[in-house]
Structure formats: structure tokens, C-alpha cells
């Protein structure tokens, strides 16, 4: 007999069916969790946490509030229409004395120097003499360095006491805050990031287009050849994966440089004059050629996986219905490969805008990507906040592309091989 709908289903011993089912699947759930836990842990430690750390660093602003805590406190309520009073100067002296003893004024001076050039030397010079200062501190400080007599300096300290800052993001897009809080462009000679972002995007787009142009016919061939031949071709496609990235990139240097294989051959057969050798490396050409080669498999594989699922009977049906071969391709085959094109395109584009080694090696000055500037700020200028901000912008761009792609095509359509 069927049970009444109000009473929940139970198993033979009276335990509710849902409880019983949960109990039954718990073991397998625990097992599944145990199986993924090492990788999960690794990903959290090595991937998720660094990303959040980076995002945090791009807005984090601890230097002023920790190193100049007394000064910040003394400046509370200051309107900024005249120089602050003696207590603020005294607090600054105290802060600098403590910082000089602890030898941790470096970060503070760099941080303030990003906002107002000259601040590093001002703080360093003041800190060296701060122990010998006598009150009134106001005159003594201004005596050491005129900067302390400027209202803007104090406004800056007051502003940067905030725990979070936008200035790294503004710097990443070549903007800065004035003392009055307006966002303005940096001087022309300091503008680099926006141009680099655009260059990264359009060169990545060119690389994506080239991989599509070169990869589409190969993927077509790959998916329509008999298995015996397509396996061999697939190995050739995957071969670059088995070679070191560094080796592949340096090989392009050997081929493309002005005393390289290609130029030598061109000179030998008389296409170009010996003194007019083509400059194909350490510029945009070099980056595009090398990266197109390196990223080609990432275009071919998604295309192949989509083309493989298109039965040859579609084209045959279209032909038998009276379509000329090209029309059949345009109307039937091509639209069906769009998920593959989109998947390959998004993959290559995302990989490309984040690429570092190849542009660094073969890009020269003009073929460099924004990633090379992230590395520069990480390793040379040590402005980690700015590096984090640039990297975060790249991350947001990738996420936006991903969301658009997911909306238009659907990520579940992407298969590799």
C-alpha cells in the first residue's frame, strides 16, 4: 500500500529514509574528501592564499599609521589651512627617534616617496639628526629640511594614515592623487603602465588570431584523418609541450636574430642585402612569433576536441542538399566549431596576457608585456604594492573574459583532447 504523503518514508527498521541514505553515502563522501585533500591543501597554501595576499597588498597601507602613530594622532582634527602646531612636530620627532632606533624607517620613506618625490631623502636626513634635536621642534625640523614647512607634507601624512589606499591602483593606470584628493594623470615622462596594458592586450589578440589561423586547418585535418595518421600528427602537435619553454624561446632567438639562420639564408639567396638584415627579435615581431608558436597547442586541442564531435555526415548532408563546398563550410561546419574557437581563443588570450618568460627573453624594449613590469616592481623597484595592483588588474581582466565567455559559450563545453 502507498504511504500517506504526510508521513516521511522510512526504511524497514523505522529509520527515516533520508537519514538512512545520508548514513549510507557518508562513507563514500569521506573517502572522496580524503582523496582530494592533499591537492586541496596544496592549492589553498600555494594558490588561494597567495592570491588573497596579493589582493590585500594592492590596497594595504600600514607604513604611515604604524611608523608615525603619534604624529597621526597629533594631526587629528587638523584642518590643513596652516602648518600644524608644535605638538605634531614633537610627535614626529618622537616617532622618528623610535624608528631610527628600530631601524625600520626604510619602508616608510619609500612609501611616502611614491606619493611625493624627495620624501625619502627628507626622512632619512631628518632621522639621522633627530636624536640631537632640541625643542621647539617646529623650527628645528624646518631647519633640517624645508619640506617640513610645507602644508602638503603634513596633508600627505594625514591622508596616508588611512589603513587602505587606492594609490597603487592609480599608479598602475598612470594616475595619482593630488594633495586635494583629485585624481590626475602623472607627468607624460612617467606614463608607462597604460600603454603597456594596451600593448599586452592587442599583442595577445594578435597572437590569439594567429594561433587560430594556423591551428584551425591543423585541427580540422587532425579530426578528419584516419586514426593511424592523426595519432602521428597529434604527437607532432604535442611535441612542443615536451620541450623546455626556455629551449623553444632561445631557439627562436637563434633563428630570428640579425646574424641568425633566417637572415643568413635570406642574405645568401639575395632577398635582402647584408647590411639591411631584418630585425626580427628583441621587438614585437619576436614576441609574436615565439608566443604564437608556444601557445599553438592550446588553440589546436580545444578546436580538435570540438571538431571531433562533428560527424562528417553534416557536411555530406549539406553537400547533398545542394550547397557548394565553401557555403557548406560557412553555414554548417564553421558555426559548429564556434565553441572550440571560443575555448581556444579564451585559453590562448588568457595565457598570453599573463606570459612572462618569452616576452622577457625575445621582447626587447618594444615587445615587453605588462607582466615584465610586474617582475620589475617585484625584483628591482621593490614596490610590491604596485606589482600587486598591476597583477590584480590582470586578474580582474581575466575574470571578466572568463565570465563573458561562460555567459556566451559555457565553460562546460571546453574539453582538452
Amino acid at each position: 500500500m502507498s504511504e500517506s504523503p504526510s508521513s516521511p518514508l522510512t526504511t524497514a527498521d523505522g529509520v527515516p529514509l533520508k537519514v538512512s541514505l545520508r548514513r549510507a553515502v557518508r562513507r563514500s563522501k569521506i573517502k572522496a574528501l580524503l582523496l582530494v585533500s592533499p591537492l586541496l591543501l596544496f592549492l589553498i597554501i600555494a594558490f588561494v592564499m597567495p592570491i588573497f595576499d596579493m589582493l590585500w597588498r594592492s590596497v594595504d597601507n600600514p607604513e604611515v599609521s604604524t611608523n608615525l602613530s603619534r604624529t597621526v594622532e597629533a594631526l587629528e582634527g587638523w584642518e590643513g589651512d596652516a602648518l600644524p602646531g608644535e605638538p605634531a612636530f614633537a610627535a614626529l620627532v618622537e616617532d622618528l627617534q623610535e624608528g631610527q632606533q628600530a631601524r625600520n624607517l626604510g619602508l616608510l620613506s619609500s612609501r611616502l616617496n611614491y606619493e611625493k618625490s624627495g620624501m625619502r631623502s627628507t626622512i632619512n636626513r631628518t632621522a639621522r639628526r633627530v636624536n640631537a634635536l632640541e625643542p621647539p621642534y617646529r623650527d628645528a625640523l624646518i631647519d633640517i629640511n624645508d619640506t617640513w614647512g610645507e602644508i602638503d607634507t603634513w596633508k600627505l601624512i594625514q591622508r596616508e594614515a588611512a589603513p587602505l589606499t587606492m594609490s597603487y591602483y592609480l599608479a598602475a593606470i598612470d594616475r595619482q592623487l593630488t594633495v586635494d584628493g583629485e585624481i590626475v594623470k602623472v607627468p607624460d615622462h612617467l606614463e608607462i603602465h597604460v600603454a603597456l596594458f594596451w600593448r599586452t592586450f592587442w599583442m595577445s589578440a594578435v597572437i590569439t588570431g594567429l594561433t587560430l589561423l594556423l591551428g584551425y586547418p591543423i585541427a580540422f585535418l587532425l579530426s578528419n584523418l584516419p586514426l593511424r595518421h592523426s595519432n602521428l600528427l597529434m604527437i607532432l602537435v604535442l611535441l612542443p609541450f615536451w620541450t623546455s619553454l626556455l629551449v623553444r624561446t632561445t631557439t627562436w632567438i637563434a633563428i630570428l636574430q640579425s646574424q641568425g639562420v633566417l637572415n643568413d639564408v635570406m642574405v645568401a639567396i639575395g632577398v635582402i642585402a647584408d647590411e639591411a638584415r631584418w630585425q626580427m627579435i628583441h621587438n614585437k615581431t619576436g614576441t609574436i612569433v615565439a608566443m604564437t608558436h608556444i601557445l599553438l597547442p592550446f588553440m589546436i586541442l580545444p578546436l580538435y576536441s570540438v571538431m571531433k564531435t562533428i560527424p562528417p555526415s553534416y557536411m555530406r548532408a549539406a553537400r547533398s542538399l545542394g550547397g557548394r563546398p565553401f557555403l557548406c563550410f560557412r553555414r554548417i561546419y564553421f558555426p559548429l566549431t564556434i565553441p572550440g574557437i571560443a575555448a581556444g581563443g579564451i585559453l590562448v588570450f588568457i595565457l598570453s596576457i599573463g606570459y612572462y618568460i618569452t616576452p622577457a627573453l625575445v621582447g626587447g624594449q618594444s615587445g615587453r608585456f605588462i607582466t615584465n613590469y610586474i617582475a620589475y616592481h617585484m625584483q628591482t623597484s621593490l614596490n610590491w604594492g604596485l606589482a600587486a595592483a598591476i597583477a590584480s588588474i590582470l586578474l580582474f581582466v581575466v575574470i571578466i573574459f572568463y565570465l563573458v565567455f561562460n555567459r556566451l559559450i559555457g565553460v562546460d563545453k571546453v574539453k582538452l583532447g
Binding site: 560527424p311 555526415s313 553534416y314 553537400r319 542538399l321 550547397g323 557548394r324 559548429l336
Partner: protein
């Protein structure tokens, strides 16, 4: 050399006759240059005919169809359509409708767009296209489904759309490559009648490929039975079933009891055959060799009678031991051991007064020599 001369002679003959709609003349096909997949295929098809190419997989029947459609090139021989050589013509210029095994409906187009495709490539006006699409949808009774995508249709509906698409541009010849293979049994039967009905109402010529003999028997005007790259027999369904010309056809079409033996004597159209069990059977000599030659006797299970009393008499009467009785509703299938053959099948209709057989029983069975055909070994 000789072959090509023959072909030319054949072609001339066709043109003189001028009545055959489609012709295969001595067509051969090889994919690897080592083996022939189709070995000398000849077939004349009249206008409006429904011809089925029937055979097991790998027998070359689909290859023949693909050669007619233009997707394969004959290695040798000629294919003619309305007296014209079409071997050099690309598929899209042949104007032949085709229904594929998995329908090959374009998944990114709606049903109506699928049907409009052949009309668009022929540059028909929008009005005319819509009219023809509507008519084609009505023909397969899917008027309501024009806006659906193929994936939203059931197998049978997809099949009907494929059929409508192959017919919408009014081709004179329609090829079908196992179009019902993916459907379940009931739907398949329904579609068989539907295709038959459309064929009759449009008068279009159809060439149909299948490995299902029931399908072939139900639908065709004529059937070409393929095996091993050659046509074993080309005949109407009735002739094919009643008068198979060789052991393969007898075995492939319908159910069939096979008895192996040696020809002892020819008596007019008949011959006496000594079976391996020692029994002597009188059979119709269809393709049996001379005295002493090996032969296979073919006997339909429904042509064997149970002899309950002495009133019925046949020229072949033997004892049979009942091994197994299977109840199939409308008929009973009894497996007997007769003349040393343990797989001897007997079909009796489940009619009033049918004998109630039990395994282990011994009965007398008999058949007429007319129904027992002595074929090649």
C-alpha cells in the same frame, strides 16, 4: 581493356533504351588498391521504383549508395542518372536527396531552417521557401515543430525531419542509408509505412540501404541482396523469399532450415539428395551441381508440417524428436532433431487444434519437395 569496351557497349545500350532512370554499370570500388569492396555491381532502376540494397555490414551496399550520391568515386565502371554519366559531377550538382543514418540534421538550426537550407542554396524566394517548407512539414505531420531545434525532437520526429529535408527540394531520386537503424522496433515499423506512403504519393525514385531484412521485405519493389561485394540476387521481395537462388540469400532472408548433403540423382527439375545422416530427401534442384556434388537444402520452418495421422502425405516424411518448444504468442517455435540436424525449426500457428508438443516427444514431420530447395554448398 575488355571491361572498358564492355562498359561502353553497355552505356550505348542504355542510351538506346532510354528508359532506365538510374544505372550502375559494372561498378567496382577499392579503397586500398588491394581488395575490392564492390565487385562488378550492375543495377537498373526504373523511374518511381523503390529499390533496397540489403546485406550484412561490410558487404559494399553503403559504398554503392555513396558512389551514387557522389561522396565516393567508383574505381571502375559507370554510374548513370537519366542516361547521363554522373561520375565526374560533385555531390551538390547531382540533385539527389539523401537521408543519413543519424539524420545529420544541423544542430544549430531550427527544423524550419534545416528544411530551408536546400532551398536557400537554390536561391528560391523567401515566400516560395516558406511555402515549400510548410508543405514538407505537413507531409511528415510536423507542422507545429518548425521552430524547434533538432535536439528537442524525439528520434522518430528527427527522422521525419530528415526525410522532409531530403524531399523538400523535390529531387527525383532519394537515397536512404539505414535511416531507421537508430529507432526502436515499434517506431521503426511506423516509419516504414510512413516512408512507403510518401514514396507512393510523390512517385519519387528511392534507393534504400538496410541490413534489416524485414524492413527490406516490407518496403521494397525490388531488393538487391549484397554479400562480399557482389549482388547475390536481385528480385522482388516475394521471389527473394520464396525462391532464393543461393544459400546466402536463403540464409539471409527469413528463417531457414539447412540440411547438408550430396546429390545422388537428378529427376527432371528435382534431385535426390543423401544427407550426411544417410536420409534421402527429394528436393527442387535450383543451384545444385551434378551427381556427387555437395549441396545445401533450404527449407522454410513454416513449410514443414506435423503429420498427426496418415491423412496428410508429403514426398518427404521423417521422424523428429522434440527438443524445445518456445511459446511466441501468435505462433509456436519448436526445435527438433530431424535427419541429424538438432537445430531444425518448426513454426506452427497458434490456431485452434494445434498439436500440444512436449520436449522428448517423437513426432512425424513432412514437407513438399517444391518447398525444399537444393542450393549451392
Amino acid at each position: 581493356m575488355n571491361d572498358s569496351l564492355e562498359v561502353e557497349a553497355d552505356v550505348r545500350e542504355t542510351k538506346d533504351q532510354g528508359e532506365c532512370f538510374a544505372r550502375f554499370v559494372n561498378v567496382q570500388k577499392s579503397y586500398d588498391g588491394v581488395e575490392l569492396v564492390v565487385k562488378g555491381f550492375n543495377l537498373d532502376i526504373q523511374q518511381g521504383e523503390f529499390v533496397t540494397l540489403l546485406g550484412p555490414s561490410g558487404s559494399g551496399k553503403t559504398t554503392c549508395l555513396m558512389m551514387m550520391a557522389g561522396f565516393e568515386t567508383p574505381t571502375h565502371g559507370e554510374i548513370l542518372l537519366k542516361g547521363e554519366q554522373i561520375s565526374g559531377l560533385p555531390p551538390h550538382k547531382r540533385g539527389i536527396g539523401m537521408v543519413f543514418q543519424n539524420y545529420a540534421l544541423f544542430p544549430h538550426m531550427t527544423v524550419a531552417e534545416n528544411l530551408a537550407f536546400p532551398l536557400e542554396v537554390r536561391h528560391l524566394s523567401k515566400d516560395e521557401t516558406r511555402k515549400k517548407v510548410d508543405r514538407a512539414l505537413a507531409m511528415v505531420r510536423l507542422e507545429e515543430f518548425g521552430d524547434r531545434r533538432p535536439a528537442q525532437l524525439s528520434g522518430g520526429q528527427q527522422q521525419r525531419v530528415a526525410l522532409a529535408r531530403a524531399l523538400v527540394f523535390e529531387p527525383e531520386l532519394v537515397l536512404m542509408d539505414e535511416p531507421l537503424g537508430a529507432l526502436d522496433k515499434n517506431l521503426r515499423e511506423e516509419m516504414q509505412y510512413e516512408i512507403k506512403r510518401i514514396h507512393a504519393s510523390l512517385g519519387v525514385t528511392m534507393i534504400y540501404v538496410t541490413h534489416d531484412q524485414t524492413e527490406a521485405l516490407t518496403m521494397s519493389d525490388r531488393i538487391a541482396v549484397f554479400n562480399d561485394g557482389i549482388v547475390q540476387q536481385l528480385a522482388t521481395p516475394e521471389t527473394l523469399y520464396e525462391e532464393p537462388e543461393n544459400a546466402f540469400v536463403a540464409y539471409f532472408i527469413g528463417e531457414n532450415n539447412r540440411l547438408q548433403g550430396e546429390v545422388v540423382e537428378h529427376i527432371g527439375d528435382d534431385c535426390q539428395v543423401r544427407l550426411d545422416s544417410g536420409d534421402i530427401v527429394l528436393a527442387k534442384a535450383v543451384a545444385a551441381g551434378g551427381v556427387g556434388a555437395r549441396t545445401t537444402l533450404s527449407l522454410r520452418p513454416e513449410r514443414v508440417s506435423i503429420l498427426l495421422d496418415e491423412s496428410l502425405s508429403f514426398d518427404n516424411c521423417f521422424e523428429g524428436h522434440v527438443k524445445e518448444v518456445i511459446y511466441l504468442g501468435d505462433h509456436l517455435r519448436t526445435r527438433l532433431a530431424v535427419c541429424g540436424n538438432d537445430e531444425f525449426i518448426l513454426k506452427t500457428p497458434n490456431a485452434k487444434g494445434h498439436p500440444n508438443l512436449r520436449p522428448g516427444q517423437t513426432i512425424k514431420v513432412g514437407w513438399s519437395s517444391k518447398d525444399c530447395r537444393a542450393l549451392d554448398a
